[in-house]
């Protein structure tokens, strides 16, 4: 049996003439937590929609549990839990009704997982979802996913609209669940800071392109930020194989690279960029993400 839960092969998508991404390739292995990161509009939700069979890609293939994502069988769909961006659920239902509704679809429904999570909320069983805050709705959506007990969780921008407390609560429950049950998770988020401790692997998307695909630890070990003062800074410094991104702030220039310090400095010499005061800056995942994708 294949270890791959999700396989994305040469995926390309256009909306009309507008290219969203080209030749996206990645694989999510059983038991791993995979992040699809990118700024707004880079194709995260498009990828999720293709993965769930809600969009036919322009070209390429997407397999979920070895089935074409556009033709998932009911059995496979029962193994996939899906959180829609914004924690969308049926707002006309109350807490009890929505649990009763979903329990009818999943034979292995774990209602105690749902109710245990909901105990934390200051809500009554008959409270309508439409009357709840975004944070409370996120817990309802998560509780339903935990009760479904799927093998693969697809979470589309779980952090949308959540304050720091609810984001942390969501992630705490999620990571407990993943560790205990050995589940596979595919997660997108535009708030990167929460994911550093959670992710195993990630893809970083930029507009129309894939910037990198690698284990998160490798990315954090190999991607570096060097800051220095250039003696005669040119108006523009081009990106290349070594300089992945560059930012100039007043008299200080930041270089983001996968190369070692010596390789970068030699490269700067070759480009005729005289410099001094080089120092490596420690980065969080969010710093590294912005370093790679740029601020704009």
């Amino acid at each position: 049996m294949s270890n791959a839960v999700v396989q994305v092969k040469n995926l390309t998508h256009h909306y009309g003439d507008r290219l969203i991404f080209e030749n996206l390739n990645f694989q999510i292995n059983r038991g791993s937590i995979f992040g699809l990161l990118g700024k707004n509009g880079t194709g995260k939700t498009t990828t999720i929609n293709i993965l769930n069979g809600f969009l036919e890609p322009t070209s390429g293939q997407c397999l979920v549990f070895d089935e074409d994502s556009h033709k998932l069988s009911p059995q496979t769909k029962s193994r996939v839990g899906f959180l829609i961006e914004g924690h969308i659920q049926y707002s006309f239902m109350n807490i009890k009704q929505i649990e009763k509704y979903y329990s009818g679809f999943y034979p292995n429904w774990k209602k105690e997982a749902y109710w245990e999570l909901l105990k934390k909320l200051q809500v009554t069983e008959t409270q309508k979802i439409s009357k709840m805050s975004c944070g409370q709705r996120s817990q309802i959506a998560l509780g339903l996913l935990l009760a479904q007990n799927p093998d693969l969780l697809i979470l589309d921008d779980f952090s949308m609209g959540l304050d720091a407390g609810y984001r942390r609560l969501f992630l705490d429950y999620l990571s407990d669940y993943i560790q205990a049950e050995g589940k596979t998770v595919f997660i997108t988020s535009h708030i990167i800071q929460d994911l550093e401790e959670l992710l195993d692997d990630c893809v970083i998307l930029d507009y129309k392109t894939v910037l990198m695909t690698m284990p998160i630890k490798k990315f954090m070990d190999e991607f570096k930020h060097f800051r220095c003062i250039l003696d005669n800074p040119p108006p523009v410094i081009q990106k290349d194989d070594i300089i992945k991104n560059v930012e100039i702030l007043k008299n200080k220039t930041s270089f983001f690279t996968f190369a070692e310090e010596s390789v970068l400095l030699n490269h700067l010499e070759k480009l005729g960029l005289k410099h001094h005061g080089v120092q490596q800056v420690k980065m969080s995942l969010e710093d590294a993400f912005i370093g790679l994708t740029g601020k704009y």
Partner: protein
Amino acid sequence: MIKSLIYKEWLKVRWTLIALGMLNLLVVVSTCVSIANAFGLIDASKLYGDIVALQNLFYYDLLYIPFLTGLLLGIVQFYPEINSSRIKLTLHLPMKESKALMTMQLFGIGSMFLIFAVDVIILLWFSSKYFPSEIINGMFISILPWLLAGFVIYIFITIIFVDTSWSRRAIIGLTGLAFVNNYYLSTMYGGTTYSYSESWFYFVIMIIIISPLILWSGNNYKRGVK
């Protein structure tokens, strides 16, 4: 699973269904009162003459009520599904998408059938106290297309809401109105008897044919076709 899906649809539209049921009942009772008043004031033979010779019909208040019922039920049932793309939740359920969509639509059709059946039973039962069976038969044939128009507009609303493209929605909407128009070609007693007594069967067949078009819309949604 179907039971759960019906449970969701019921929770979503129950108050609308009750309100529409009340509206239908109100119009039917009002029609019955009109009939009773007319027979209290005017000689029965004169009224029979009006109906047969002048093609007068006592049920005109009901004319657009089924249409309104289908329109509102369709909107209330399917707008929450497309709002914030909630229909993805339904399409992601572990059942065939076609089965889920058809169940939702059949729930609406079944609900309307119940409301309209009550309308017809009350009207015909009350009318039978005043009219001979030939006239009642003609009246029933006359109002049947109005009731069927309710189903037609409901089905078109479901198809429009599930689809993703505004241009296709506009075309489906215009087609729907053209379809519905057929059901209102004649609204008079005698004429309707002649024109509809033969054709109501085809009207029903048309409904059966258009109903599964929701699967085509569902497929467009799934493919993300704009």
